[in-house]
């Protein structure tokens, strides 16, 4: 049913359609509306789940460890400081192979305190062993939520998933969204049936400690599950498209990339602005294209190379910064190229930090710089809009 709703409501509604047993979350801007909507859905009896209010994000995710190990489907949502507070639990969840799904309403990290959007929070958690899927718009966040459970819970994967959506930009926007039908979701998403749960009839020990003789193998298995997830994510997206008629891509999606000389790579809601900029640039004869990364973890190196192989230059625009080096997506893409035969300049831009708008003008500037880099790269990495006058 198509309805104009707030992004947070749409995502809460999607989580409801996945019939979690337990929801546990802690309020933090701009994720708050998601948990408020879920609380209301529970209070109204629409969502027959337990909603646990907790003392912190750390406890919210810890509660879900217990729920998941006891065989329940669970959901949480957080952002920024809340995700940072969960850091220790994030590793624990993936290491214990608990298929929890969590929405991250991407926001900047303090200090200085800033409640607006960038993607530093989930990028900071890129190595915690969770699958990370980024959404371009509210509808994609909705659809990805359902796909996330299917990916996470499949027995060969058993890995938690973060569904990342840009805070405010997507959580607070009102737009027409195709809300899901619970029954249709139930047909698509089978009930959670893990092989091992906390059960006195069949007692098992969860979370034993592993010494150097076995720890590596635990990590290897997680690594292998992510490799398997590469095709799983693709397949689930296809399957979803067949049933629900919507397709936002699997590991990634491309726009005007086939014949593009300059290809922009990015993640999240800025994709919309970039597409608009591309349409303008194309009309003027500049052959620009876009590759949107949907799955940042696992990183789709091979799929990406296929999309980028005919370009002359790559421009990476991302909403994070790895202080002390450059930025995360840029580094990952360059690493993917290194051992291939492909050689082209790759230039990176940190943009949209702490909620700064990324305008079509900014995108054009990035494209100009990328275009110039074809003749020789001046700097590999820049802040796209730096207010030098206040430095």
């Amino acid at each position: 049913m198509m309805k104009v709703v707030e992004g947070s409501y749409a995502v809460a509604h999607a989580a409801m359609c996945c019939s979690p047993d337990v929801v546990s979350a802690y309020p933090i801007t701009p994720q708050t509306h998601i948990v408020e909507h879920l609380s209301q859905l529970v209070a109204d009896g629409e969502l027959r789940a337990e909603f646990l209010t907790v003392d912190s994000e750390f406890s919210a995710l810890s509660v879900l460890v217990g729920v998941s190990a006891a065989g329940g489907r669970s959901y949480s949502s957080t952002t920024s400081q809340g995700l940072a507070l969960m850091y220790e639990v994030l590793y624990n969840v993936s290491g214990m192979r608990l298929p929890i799904v969590m929405t991250v309403a991407n926001r900047a990290l303090s200090a200085p305190l800033n409640i607006w959007n960038d993607q530093q929070d989930s990028i900071g958690a890129r190595d915690v062993g969770w699958i990370q899927l980024y959404s371009e718009n509210v509808q994609e966040a909705v659809d990805t939520t359902v796909q996330a459970y299917k990916i996470a819970e499949s027995l060969e994967i058993m890995t938690p998933v973060m569904v990342c959506m840009d805070g405010f930009i997507l959580t607070h926007v009102y737009e027409p969204v195709e809300l899901l039908d619970k029954e249709q979701v139930a047909d698509f998403l089978p009930p959670y049936r893990p092989t091992d749960i906390l059960d006195p009839q069949n007692p098992k020990t969860f979370g034993a400690f592993a010494d150097p003789s076995t720890y590596t193998e635990f990590r290897y298995l997680q690594y292998e599950a992510h490799l398997k997830a590469l095709s799983k994510i693709e397949n689930v997206a296809k399957e979803y498209a067949e049933v629900f008629g919507r397709d936002f891509g699997g590991l990634l999606d491309a726009y005007q990339a086939d014949d593009a000389e300059i290809i922009i790579v990015t993640m999240g809601s800025v994709v919309g602005t970039i597409k608009e900029a591309i349409d303008g640039l194309r009309a003027e004869g500049t052959k620009v294209g876009l590759v949107k990364i949907r799955s940042y973890r696992p990183f789709p190196a091979q799929a990406l190379m296929k999309e980028l192989k005919n370009a002359d230059v790559i421009a990476v625009i991302e909403k994070d910064i790895c202080v002390g080096n450059e930025a995360a997506l840029l580094t990952d893409i360059k690493a993917a190229f290194y051992n291939s035969n492909l050689r082209m300049p790759i230039i990176g831009f940190a943009a949209g930090l702490g909620g700064r708008d990324i305008t079509i003008k900014d995108i054009r500037k990035a494209v100009e710089k990328a275009s110039a880099a074809r003749k020789g790269i001046e700097s590999q990495f820049e802040f796209l809009t730096l207010r030098k006058e206040i430095l």
Partner: protein, 290 residues
């Protein structure tokens, strides 16, 4: 006695913690799920690929056992299972780092029996002070020295903190009093809502006492009045274990390495008197002697 903790675990010879676990599980039975925080208990009972636990058991982190147990309990309720959900954890996670998560679990009223085996320091990491370490005990982070007589602060009153949350069943127990401990675990498990039992559990490595005397040390803690055995039901003091022949704290302190500096250093005698005062206060407050 049912043996729900298998032998072959790696606890030190003379450690009281496995006995606490055995007694708790004996009272709880097999229809039980245990959640444990990081601690000596966790590393000594679950070295992968082995586990001493005969009942289902989960360890997540040092400071989240209560939150994990909340999740487990909610799932049991949802599936209409009457499985006991227990936390068995050390004093470090209970008194200090897990306080937020404990507070949340108590406040939400989950039917979880929280058992703290209290060895009065962070033993797993090598005997550092915790909020439970008693006044003037030596630990590796409150060492005795020229300027120090050991831990400068009194033991945190965790049962009072549980009571302040309205926890309907709060008790202290001791590994030296197995009948009392088992009875209290049974009562905790019958409680509709959270319960908290703090069990005195001497650590041979951290407290340093003679081999074989673990239980005797625990008994002395009770007999001196330093570890009163009490029980609160719905906030009311309902039971106190009377002491037939009260002993001076000296009998308890002089046999433990963690207090030996008090017998050698200037100012030690005064401290010993103030530790006796702590016991005397307990004796008066709980009317430990008839």
């Amino acid at each position: 006695m049912q043996n729900l903790l298998a032998p072959g675990h790696r606890a030190c010879a003379g450690c009281s913690m496995p006995t606490v676990i055995r007694l708790v599980l004996d009272a709880a039975g097999t229809n039980t799920i245990v959640v444990s925080p990081t601690s000596c208990l966790e590393v000594t009972t679950t070295p992968f690929p082995e586990s001493a636990w005969v009942v289902p058991w989960i360890h997540s982190l040092f400071e989240n056992a209560s939150a994990v147990a909340s999740g487990v309990e909610v799932m049991m309720k949802r599936q209409c299972k009457d499985t006991n959900v227990l936390v068995i954890g050390g004093d470090g996670s209970t008194f200090d780092i897990g306080m937020g998560s404990n507070s949340g679990m108590f406040e939400r009223g989950h039917k979880v029996a929280y058992i703290c085996y209290d060895n009065e320091a962070y033993m797993n990491t090598g005997v550092q002070r915790s909020g439970s370490t008693p006044f003037c005990a030596h630990t590796t982070t409150t060492p005795a020295g020229e300027l120090s007589l050991g831990n400068p602060r009194p033991k945190k009153d965790m049962p009072a903190i549980a009571l302040a949350h309205g926890v309907p069943y709060v008790a202290t127990a001791s590994v030296a009093y197995p009948v009392d401990l088992r009875k209290k675990v049974e009562r905790a498990l019958q409680t509709q809502g959270p319960s908290y039992i703090q069990v005195n559990a001497p650590c041979i490595t951290g407290w340093t006492f003679d081999a074989g005397t673990t239980i005797e040390i625990a008994r002395l803690a009770v007999e001196t009045g330093l570890w009163p055995l009490f029980e609160y039901v719905n906030g009311e003091l309902t039971e106190v274990k009377k002491i037939r022949r009260i002993k001076l704290v000296d009998e308890y302190l002089k046999v433990q390495g963690r207090y030996k500096h008090l017998y050698k250093m200037p100012g030690g005698a005064e401290i010993l008197r103030s530790i006796q005062d702590i016991a005397d206060k307990n004796i008066a407050m709980y009317k430990l002697v008839d």
